[in-house]
């Protein structure tokens, strides 16, 4: 069993601000973390190979600094990490990202052993798109299962995987064929801490970096060129106007007087028809 986990280094979102003059996102001084969902993905992969045997490779596409994210997973005990990094990959949207990662997974399968299972996070907390996983599955023509909380069966020789998916109204149990791609929910497991041998390995190991040429990527499909979407403008959401505050003895009464004058409130609470 060869499991590939895709991780993304993201800024700690709470800290991100806009530079009001340049209208760009200020990343300086903002700490980078591994996308929380992806930590659960790494933990799941490690648990699966502990149970079923095999190896875990972790891939990330990003700038050279993303090496730190990979080292974190090496310290957790994964077998192999690969940085996919090239100036030509810059400004990639999800279409270009999924192309690049799918191409890298194909290369990895060829150079080592074929990847049977790809695990992604459900979404990255910086972009929240949740598109990268389905995009990669489609390109590789792998079966896909999103919102996975648990892998209940994994039988390599029968090419079978059974997973639980968290949906809006319940849990779906789904069987798919290997090779497959799953995206996982957050908080489904407790990502393990780094082990001492892991830390030493992470410290010593030279992280391989794969360029666009090395993975034989089509220049038209990567980075800016391969990205149909483009950000026209970023802005801080306009603040909603806060209403009055009441703190005196009659605060509750005053507040209710105001909302009882509001048509949405009357409609919801008194069942009055608006319009």
């Amino acid at each position: 069993m060869h499991i590939a986990v895709l991780i993304k280094q993201v800024p700690d979102t709470q800290e991100v601000k806009i530079d009001p003059e340049k209208n760009t996102i200020v990343r300086a001084g903002v700490e980078s973390i591994v996308n929380p969902f992806d930590m659960n993905a790494v933990e799941m992969a490690l648990e699966l190979v502990e149970k079923h045997g095999g190896e875990v490779s972790v891939l990330t596409m990003g700038p050279p600094q993303a090496e730190a994210a990979l080292k974190e997973t090496l310290a957790m005990g994964v077998n192999r990490v690969i940085l996919i990094s090239d100036k030509k990959f810059a400004a990639a949207d999800t279409l270009a990202t999924s192309y690049t990662l799918a191409t890298a997974i194909e290369k990895l399968s060829k150079d080592t052993t074929p990847v049977n299972l790809v695990i992604c996070g459900k979404q990255a907390v910086d972009g929240d798109t949740a598109q990268t996983g389905p995009g990669i599955a489609t390109r590789l023509n792998f079966d896909q299962a999103t919102y996975v909380t648990e892998v209940t069966e994994l039988v390599e020789n029968e090419k079978r995987i059974v997973v639980k998916r968290r949906l809006a109204k319940g849990v779906e149990i789904v069987q798919a064929q290997l090779p497959a791609l799953i995206t996982v929910e957050k908080d489904i497991n407790e990502p393990r801490y780094a082990s001492l041998p892991g830390l030493i390995k992470a410290e010593r190991e030279e992280i391989p970096s794969w360029s666009a040429d090395f993975i034989n990527a089509d220049p038209e499909q990567i980075g800016f060129k391969g990205s149909p979407t483009w950000v026209k403008r970023i802005f801080t959401p306009p603040p909603r106007e806060g209403g009055p505050l009441f703190d005196a003895d009659d605060a509750v009464k005053k507040a209710l007087d105001i909302v009882f004058d509001n048509k949405h409130f009357r409609e919801a609470v008194l069942g009055e028809e608006s319009e």
């Binding site: 996983g133 979407t229 970023i234 505050l245």
Partner: protein, 335 residues
């Protein structure tokens, strides 16, 4: 009017699950009508499933001029690969310039696959849609970085331009039973080889589990409440108003609230008519899940709590003092 290309009209995907069309489809038909108006083009709808042609009329009432129906028992359950094939067939054949999909779990699963096959620009989870006055391109606005920042995105190249939109963000229009439209059956046979993914079982959430995203009134508690006793009072208030109890993430972590009732970035997005926030500070991750509610009433003893900045009215008191009075006063006014 937009330039005359092969690609025109605004297509909305009408998701049918559990044999019912999802409301977000109707919400998007309202948006599609507005966008198509700006482009001088028409609105179309796409329905995929088994025994779904019956919903075409409703789609027309909500604004579709043309409804494409892929109706076949093979589409009874959702499988990414088969729905993706059907979806892409329709788009390649009828060439809509804009494709809108509800950002439901199914919609998000499907849109990434469709966008990849069509090599289309896809913007996820939009909260605002518009047409650029000069280029006539779709402008999709979405929150990013956990709601701290808004981004407006357009497609610099390629067709169609795709966006997913969260349910309940757009208001649904009124259906017009007199509207006329065309229904077109599209046959996309399913290759049995494509059905490698099988649903073995569906375990619905336990009975009584509600979907807070459908509640008209929500009474939410936060760390300021942090007690069984407090949540009993919130329940009393919710029952009085016919609403549902919800809360912030720490309350779920404390075991006072089931996770289905968490509001916020990692919980549910809710847009009720009335949201009552008790002992909730108003962290950005919470606000993104509730700030579009029509009326927000907040109780917090800290006058500087950020929740007040999004509130219609604020009561600066401890909940222990304010809630009993609120309940008794409301009892009098409601009955």
């Amino acid at each position: 009017m937009a330039e005359n290309t092969e690609w025109k009209d605004v297509l909305v995907f009408i998701e049918v699950s559990d044999g019912k069309p999802q409301e977000v489809g109707w919400e998007l038909l309202g948006q599609a009508t507005r966008l198509a108006g700006k482009l001088g083009q028409k609105v179309s709808a796409l329905i995929i499933g088994d025994n779904v042609k019956q919903f075409a009329k409703e789609a027309i009432e909500y604004g579709a001029d043309t409804v494409y129906v892929v109706d076949d028992p093979a589409y009874k359950t959702y499988v990414t690969r088969t729905y993706n094939n059907a979806f892409c067939e329709v788009v390649k054949k009828y060439k809509p310039t804009i494709v809108l999909i509800g950002a439901t779990p199914l919609g998000r699963d499907l849109s990434g696959a469709v966008g990849t096959v069509l090599q289309a620009g896809l913007t996820a989870d939009c909260t605002g849609l518009d047409i650029d006055d000069k280029t006539f391109k779709l402008l999709s606005t979405r929150p990013t970085f956990g709601g701290n920042i808004m981004a407006t995105i357009f497609c610099q190249k390629g067709q169609p331009q795709m966006s997913t939109v969260r349910p309940k963000v757009m208001k649904k229009g009124n259906p017009d039973p007199a509207r006329k439209g065309e229904v077109i059956d599209v046959s996309v046979p399913v290759d049995p080889k494509d059905i490698t993914v099988k649903v073995l079982e569906f375990i619905p959430d336990k009975a009584g589990a509600v979907e807070i995203e459908h509640a008209k009134i929500i009474v939410a508690g936060g760390k300021g409440v942090n007690s069984q006793e407090g949540f009993e009072q919130l329940k009393k208030l919710a029952d009085l108003l016919g609403g549902e109890v919800a809360g912030s993430r720490p309350m779920v972590e404390a075991g006072l609230l089931p996770v289905e009732r968490q509001v916020g970035q990692t919980g549910k997005t809710v847009v009720p008519r009335v949201f009552i926030a008790v002992g909730i500070s108003g962290a950005i991750q919470h606000l993104v899940g509730m700030q579009n509610s029509d009326v927000i009433i907040s109780i917090n003893n800290d006058p500087n709590a950020p929740i007040f900045k999004v509130s219609t009215v604020g009561i600066v008191k401890r909940w222990q003092d304010a809630l009993p009075e609120l309940i008794s006063d409301l009892e009098k006014r409601v009955n």
